[in-house]
Symmetry: C2
Subunit: 553 residues, 2 copies
């Protein structure tokens, strides 16, 4: 790309956008550079379009001026780069002002929303206007964008947790500045745009997820009718070696349809980290945590080596039958505890309601530790999981609502893993030693994303105020990612600074993506380097020895 | 496209393919031109590649010689054009020799198959090697290709009926002759190619369905574990006016997950047509059928104005609960009859087994008429539905195994319809008068393809030996399709001769498809005119008055 003239572009922008929609001051640019990653990228400016037409106008002018745009929905790509572009000096398109809920169909169960709509906003809207429907919430927090997360293939916890499958009909501004509606959307008056996803002819929606081929400005999303019955379940698995049969038996139940929502299998430290920080005093700063300290933490919070949680939903008959089958499947591996609304009003959870049902103090603490999941399994957004980000801070942050204001360092590593005990163990055997070697404890979860696959989530939590810990986190991230790729477990999603590690020379699929990028965005103005290799004079070369990740892009 | 030199191309072909894989004799070309459509197209030659490498070699040479290729899997695109290309004189790539079942994973429940694999072949293979799994069968018959049908988004009848959602990881030969694997397929050693469909980065699979952007040479397909319990259900709905509440209540059950497989709602004549031909004598040749004749047919076969059939699958508890809820939902609309394997061995159906359970002769006939559905709901391929093709023949064909050998005329019209009674009625009000005006009775089904949408299937059955009936069928097809498009009900799939009717001037989406086509297939050699508008000197113009469909392409 020839040197872009940002100033001329911004002058042109000020002619088509309101004054307050163009922002290039240093404070704002710094704010958008904040990230939980070891290092962020600083944008050249931030634009705030309010309509699809404004987005289109921006894109057209960016082509004229050959300026790189980076669209964000609400910039909460937490643990994967937040609002940061892969490259320095991009112009951020913050779509936060496009926050309308355009349509709610209570008969067919869907909404059409803009990218600025937050999880909390949709949740409140449904509670008021469609109380018979659930939304599916991800763990990204109440302020996160639903559209932005869905486009990254983030996942939630109810039976509607795979948002790729519940997205139906999107509007996209192409890099040429023209807007398209997918599926049946381009057929005049079509009544089926948001009830049947494929339309007739090729389906292009997949091109606009995890990509840089267009800016999604509207999205149709299916809503789940509130199930007639709901039960939360928890299984404490004491023996680490029981992981394999636990996963294999859960897979069988998932394939049979007995389990139909996300099922989490988290290790002890993952659960503990949502309750307290790393025990600096007890562990004397050592990592991995000495075994006795770790055992004491398990005892304190009443958690097992592995902890299974999820929900059973459906009709009363279905849930009753599923309880029976789950109990039978877990026999010999762990005791299954069921909690439902009838026995326990969510609000009373902390207030000791459990005691009334004869549950002991230890079980109460177990459930307390699992509380965030209970709400998520009903599609209720929560910022509780964000508290786990402080795990490695030397002192607890003063405020929780903005993890970027604290010094929380966070890198997610999230490989897709076949839903077998054998594969789960193989992945742990790759990840754990590399975490330990770099001075981090392993916080691990496996979540069933469908009947056959799980997403493993391993978070490197670190203290951003310590430069040596930042460097260790970055080294650990790349060492683990490379090892997982070599072993055949690529990630479902990557951080902006990690995308180039996915690319290989002489890859037909990657060449196809480049052909598509060249066809749709010949000037390469849209989110360069995002998931699709950048064009350049020289072919892109990837070398694992090519230096530290901060400067890789 | 400049005038292709077919002869030179075929000479080149004979150097890279075995002798018996290149065929240009007149008999074969005539055979591939046969169709149930009013008119077919005749290919210039037929090639029979046996490997992905051969397909790639053919594609590269087709580019050199600028020859139009038209790939078919087994050529059973019944009712939509059979083996015919949209254009005259294409070179057919018959992939029937690529018929290997490459992989069967009984732990994770999937197969990887080539395009030549037939429904019967996979069914037999599973019965032998994986009896705990079901395949999902479509109504296209035992000899139809699974891959070809899935790429056309054909649908089956079990909970795995939407094959777009059960396809995971495909191999595609691009128009440039290079092969790509989608999803995680291009990552070396990836263990998750066939268990997680999206990979990381953009997902391109949708580009290769209902399109002409690549030739699919392998496909991963998920298998359903045989459910612990299965019950077939049938509801006879006597009053035509009950259609609306029937659909609305079925939708509620589908959204709740009580119903999880395809549910058919077929009219009287659709059911009758699978049992007998048009009653030429009784009706004295009149169409639409006089009311008394139609009433007599309903009485004879014991069918209602509308007939609902489907299955309940899952665990025993789930099926028991679902029976109760279905009965309650249908109260006042029709009586629900349940039939399961325990009560009725499928093989004894015809042999009078029903009598043993006290079912009356009329009920027995009802169920007899619905028999083909019973097998399909268990994923058993059948050619029974093909018998309905003879509805309008003046005499029954001598042999059933090849509908193309008889004079069966068939055009499917298959709009997507929101799953509401109101929309179903609106569609019938559009379709029925136009069928009647053209001299055809309306054979109609609505099938729930997901929780929110149905596919309406309306077949124009006609006698190909009568040229005036062929012309009437073609006129009727286009009149109905145009009216459905105007009213906002585009089809899920179209016949090869009907594709150009979908295209409109000044359509951004269509321009996007053309950009993609130009990028991937600059010479336009692959299946020109198939779902994506052809490039040409002049922009494509569509006029509804532009003449009869036979000569439109």
């Amino acid at each position: 790309m020839s040197t872009p003239d940002i100033e001329a572009f911004l002058r042109a922008m000020r002619e088509v956008l309101p004054d307050d929609a163009v922002c290039a001051d240093a404070t704002a640019r710094d704010r958008y550079a904040r990230t939980t990653q070891p290092a962020g990228t600083r944008p050249a400016a931030v634009l705030f379009p309010a309509t699809t037409e404004e987005v289109a106008a921006i894109v057209r002018l960016a082509n004229d001026h050959r300026v790189a745009l980076y669209p964000i929905s609400r910039g909460r790509n937490l643990g994967y780069g937040d609002a940061c572009a892969p490259t320095e000096g991009a112009v951020i398109l913050d779509l936060g002002r496009m926050n309308r809920i355009l349509e709610l169909d209570t008969r067919l169960g869907y909404v059409v929303i803009e990218p600025g709509v937050t999880q909390q906003q949709l949740f409140d809207h449904l509670r008021r206007h469609a109380p018979d429907y659930w939304m599916d919430a991800t763990g990204a927090g109440p302020d996160a964008s639903i559209v932005g997360n869905a486009l990254e293939r983030g996942f939630g916890h109810t039976p509607y947790g795979d948002h790729v499958r519940t997205t139906c009909g999107i509007e996209v501004v192409l890099p040429n500045g023209r807007a398209v509606l997918t599926g049946f959307g381009h057929h005049a008056n079509a009544r089926t745009v948001h009830v049947y996803p494929y339309g007739v002819g090729p389906a292009v929606d997949g091109l606009f997820m995890q990509s840089n081929l267009g800016i999604v400005t509207k999205l149709g999303l299916w809503l789940q009718p509130a199930p007639r019955a709901f039960t939360f379940f928890y299984v404490k698995v004491d023996r680490d070696a029981a992981l394999e049969p636990v996963i294999d038996r859960l897979r069988a139940l998932r394939m049979d349809g007995v389990l139909n929502s996300a099922v989490h299998v988290g290790n002890d430290l993952r659960i503990v980290s949502s309750q307290q920080q790393y025990p600096w005093e007890a562990a004397d700063g050592r990592t991995p945590l000495p075994d006795p300290v770790r055992a004491a933490l398990r005892a304190r919070w009443g958690v097992g080596a592995w902890n299974v949680s999820g929900s059973l939903t459906g009709t009363r008959d279905q849930v009753r039958g599923a309880r029976r089958m789950l109990k039978r499947a877990m026999r010999g591996l762990g005791r299954v505890v069921f909690v439902d609304d009838a026995r326990l009003a969510l609000g009373n959870w902390v207030a000791g309601a459990l005691g009334r049902f004869g549950l002991g103090a230890r079980l109460r603490r177990q459930l307390e530790a699992l509380r965030p999941n209970y709400g998520l399994l009903k599609g209720i957004p929560t910022d509780f999981p964000l508290q786990a980000l402080a795990w490695r801070l030397r002192k607890a942050p003063a405020q929780w609502d903005d993890p970027l204001a604290a010094a929380c360092g966070l890198l997610w590593i999230s490989p897709v893993v076949p839903a077998t005990g054998e594969d789960a163990r193989a992945v742990l055997d790759i990840v754990a030693p590399r975490f330990h070697e770099a001075g981090f404890d392993l916080l691990a979860t496996f979540t069933f994303i469908n009947e056959r696959a799980m997403i493993g989530i391993f978070n490197i939590s670190f203290d951003k105020t310590l430069s040596e810990e930042c460097a260790a986190a970055a080294r650990c991230y790349h060492a683990v990612m490379d090892a997982l790729l070599d072993a055949g477990y690529p990630p479902y999603r990557v951080a902006v600074h990690g995308m180039a590690r996915l690319w290989r020379d002489d890859d037909t699929f990657q060449d196809l993506l480049r052909d598509l990028k060249r066809a749709l965005d010949p000037a390469g103005i849209l989110a360069p380097g995002r998931y699709i290799p950048e064009e350049s004079g020289a072919p892109i070369r990837h070398s694992r020895e090519s230096g530290n990740p901060e400067t890789q892009e």
